[in-house]
């Protein structure tokens, strides 16, 4: 029993030493390396102002109450009746994609941008007028290296540069 335990301790230490000397790391060095995402990636959502039929299904299906219908002022005054359009709140959004799936005219689309980082709380709320302008492009100090994550049987994850 005691011998068995000792052997286990030695095995644990050996495993730790193996990893320490192995020199492989899974970290993505984010601002220097930026990951290229695969097709079908669920990033921030794009809104097509012209094809939207204002049905409100996206707001209804949203499980996190991130998508809401806002009264669009100009259009309401033009048409003499309230017109509602969807806006999104990224503090609540869980990127489940229900709104994109349910949209009958495909006015909502996923982009591959997932840099959901803002300075203020208010910036994270996208009312329809801001929502139509598309997703904010992330800013980098210098041009980042684009990499793609490859699943490697031996090493877990590897990052390969993409042209």
């Amino acid at each position: 029993m005691a011998v068995e335990r000792t052997i286990r301790h030695i095995k644990a230490l050996a495993t730790g030493a193996k990893y320490m000397l192995g020199g492989h790391r899974l970290t993505l060095m984010y601002p220097d390396d930026v990951q290229e995402f695969p097709d079908g990636y669920r990033g921030m959502i794009e809104y097509d102002w012209n094809t939207c039929i204002k049905c409100g299904l996206c707001a209804m299906v949203c499980p996190a109450d991130a998508m809401k219908m806002y009264v669009s002022k100009e259009e309401s005054e033009e048409g003499k009746r309230p017109v509602r359009r969807p806006g999104i709140n990224y503090t609540r959004c869980i990127f489940c994609g229900f709104c994109v799936d349910i949209c009958p005219t495909n006015s909502l689309k996923f982009t591959k941008v997932h840099d959901v980082a803002f300075y203020t709380f208010e910036e994270q709320i996208f009312p329809p007028e801001k929502f139509r302008e598309g997703v904010p492009k992330p800013q980098y100090d210098k041009k980042p290296r684009r990499v793609r994550a490859i699943l490697d049987e031996r090493r877990g994850i590897r990052y390969e540069p993409v042209e």
Partner: protein
Amino acid sequence: MQDLLSLIFEPYVFVPLIFPGITVAFLLLLVIIWLERKMAAKVQLRYGPLYVLKPLGGAIQMVADLLRYLFQEPIIPKTVDKLAFILTPALLFGMAYLPTVAIPVSPTFYAFRSDLSLLIVLALSTLAPIFTVVMGWASNNKFSLIGGVREGYIVVSYEIPMFLSALSMAVLYGSLDLVDIAEAQKGLWGIFLNPVAAITMLVLMYMSTSKFPFEIPEAESEIVAGAYTEYSGILYGLVMGASYVKLYVLSLVFSILFLGGWNPVPGFMANDPLLPGVLLFIKAFIIIVIGAFLRAVYPRFRIDQAMDLGWKTLLPLSIISIFISLAEVMIMGGA
């Protein structure tokens, strides 16, 4: 100026102030905490501290942390026992590094030589845990109190076997003088003569300085930071540093007892303290690095498991190590 320089290189000033005293202990703190985080990161396939001086892999991260500790406001809660709360970190750190005064650097270079220097080091090193217990009481906080009591539990289970295994080497060499003990290992190192004592002492050293898997008094996921919960700013910096300094002191003792101290050092260099000091430091540093590496491998023991290990496994082993020493003395007729 000349006088000042020669005064600094006098052994009784150099040993407590430079090596193995406060200066080297402080520099070691800056290096070892960075190294500990870096090694844990490598085992877990991460980078660890990186962005403070990136070309050297974040090597001066701890300097940045020290500056932060220095300029952070030390918050003293209203309900604490103020005198005990403020004084204990300084006393803890001071007591942790105090034993260095009795550690010799070379056969001829020491602050003072005593027949009982091993006992002095061991006795002084037992004073530090008292302040952890006091700290737990003074903070007036349930987590601190639990941490302090845990420290008390751990102390009783590591101290006796650790001293027995250290003293078994004194039995083997027939001396309590660290200089004599190191000089007796010119040929064969103590770790080969009495490996049981060496392993016991190594494990108990890590236990006494709250290294993983014995990080029980400050178990972060259970009791916030144990006795250190209420501390902030430079006071926290001191209490965090104290356990590393204690590990450094015990590693020096371990190197002298089991790894031959400054041996092997060529005869003509023995009077110059430089090479023996460097050798002694390298050995101690390796022991500390192993202790830091354990953090990456082990989870934490429960307190009953640690006490079980101390009382049921390591205490018998340390008693066995004394008998091994006695048997070797009888067979070889004294080393």
